[in-house]
Amino acid sequence: MTATRTPSDPAAGRTVRRRGDRVFAGSAKGAGILILVILAGVAAFLVAEALPAVTAPGEDIPGGEGLGAYIGPLLFGTLLAAVIALLVATPLAVAIALFIAYYAPRRLAQGLGYVVDLLAAIPSIVYGFWGIYWLAPRLVPFYEWLERNLGFVPFFAGPTSATGRTMLTAGLVLAVMILPIISAISREVFLQVPALHREAALALGATRWEMIRMAVLPYGRSGVIGGAMLGLGRALGETMAIALVLSVSGGITVNLISSGNPSTIAANVALEFPESSGVDVNTLIASGLALFVITFAVNMLARWIVNRRADFSGAN
């Protein structure tokens, strides 16, 4: 074999290319590269505008104790709300995905899928409205019950917030918002389970649940995990619903039903940014940068898990 050209250089020997082709291919490639530039730009500009807050003396930062002390409680609040959302939403989303994939009547399944997807289409600010006016007041009696009966658990120590605008409420609103994301991805992988696996289980005399436990869940596990990670990424960055629902007092606490709650990074930016100036703005951008880094890492991990699954599924 006279390999005078390497395979990575397929254009060699083809010197003639039309101008239209060159221009068009160039602009398509340019658009792709522009996306890389934008993403790099997001990081670069955030760093540039966050830098003054990093170099500023601690007493100039809101709170007067430096950047770390400012971002710390926010980071805690962000993670707490997202974890609550994830714990509530994941089992529910998996059950919904199973319902649509294997329990709902065939003719209804697609329509029910659309209905669940509608939850994803509703703007987050509307979720905030709903959270304040509908959900929060209805949860107050439930929180009172929790305080009475489970008050010894630090999470439910109380005193119960009279408005219901607590960390747990915020977490539940977030759970509703990420539900369609996790359920859509789970549904997709459940439906990809080879019919052969499912029929093999059924042929052994398995009931429907045994078939799902033996054939569907093991196959779909990494897809569910990846979907949950994507949901986590969304929950970490969710802004308006939290900004509206959560009644904020700052400070770190694990009490989920009282009126004193740490804010989240995103909600804090939305609440404080419009009224801020000077180094305060830089501080908020620095917190945004921290959020960007965290969600970036979570999403990369999620994509890696989902894509690794795709490589093994043989579906492509």
């Binding site: 074999m1 390999a3 395979p7 397929p10 020997g13 083809r14 010197t15 003639v16 290319r17 039309r18």
Partner: protein, 259 residues
Amino acid sequence: MAKRIDVSDLNIYYGNFLAVENVTVSIEPRSITALIGPSGCGKSTFLRSLNRMHEVIPGARVEGKVVMDGQDLYAPDVDPVDVRQHIGMVFQRPNPFPTMSIYDNVAAGIRLNNKKMKRADLDTLVERSLRGANLWNEVKDRLDRPGAGLSGGQQQRLCIARAIAIEPDVLLMDEPCSALDPISTLAIEDLMTELKERFTIVIVTHNMQQAARVSEQTGFFNLSGVGQPGRLIEFNSTEKIFSNPDEKATEDYISGRFG
């Protein structure tokens, strides 16, 4: 019109994989040349290299010469797009453009290349091409209907009409009847016999009877094993190939002893 093609020492690669090795052959004008052989022997790959469709696949390339009436198609200053305007192609599965009407499908070669043509001239061209493809009488009342609404055999003749509308010199056909029923196949075979008055036709076929029925020349491709390159084992008049081939392998293949 109807030019001859001389291929010499042609090697065809996919990346580093040598798919077809050392083909030298002359294809006569105004005749039908059939290429036969078992699956995966490189006959389609060879066909696609004649109008530089081969290199559409990333990493695919050739070495050697393909000369059409004195012009080397692989010379450095030749644009593959120009080559394809002179050497048309019909594919295994009918592939009319689903967004276009029957009329637009036939006129596609003109329209897509932005050639200016008067409406009346275009009408004439479309009619002439559809008549050439024996399709005019069946579709003349519904030229504005989608091309994808025709039957499989009609679609394939539409694709032939589309290919001959750009007035190529050579027509390459890659198993044009393998997706069709026997009656449509017969219609296309009749059409080929008419078309060879105007074009040089090269056809790849799995159907040896078809090769025997329509072609003047036949080439037999074979490969010695999996992962080995395909080779042109024998090239002769169709009559000789099917009655008294020079090569033992050809005789085995023709008589159904393998492949």
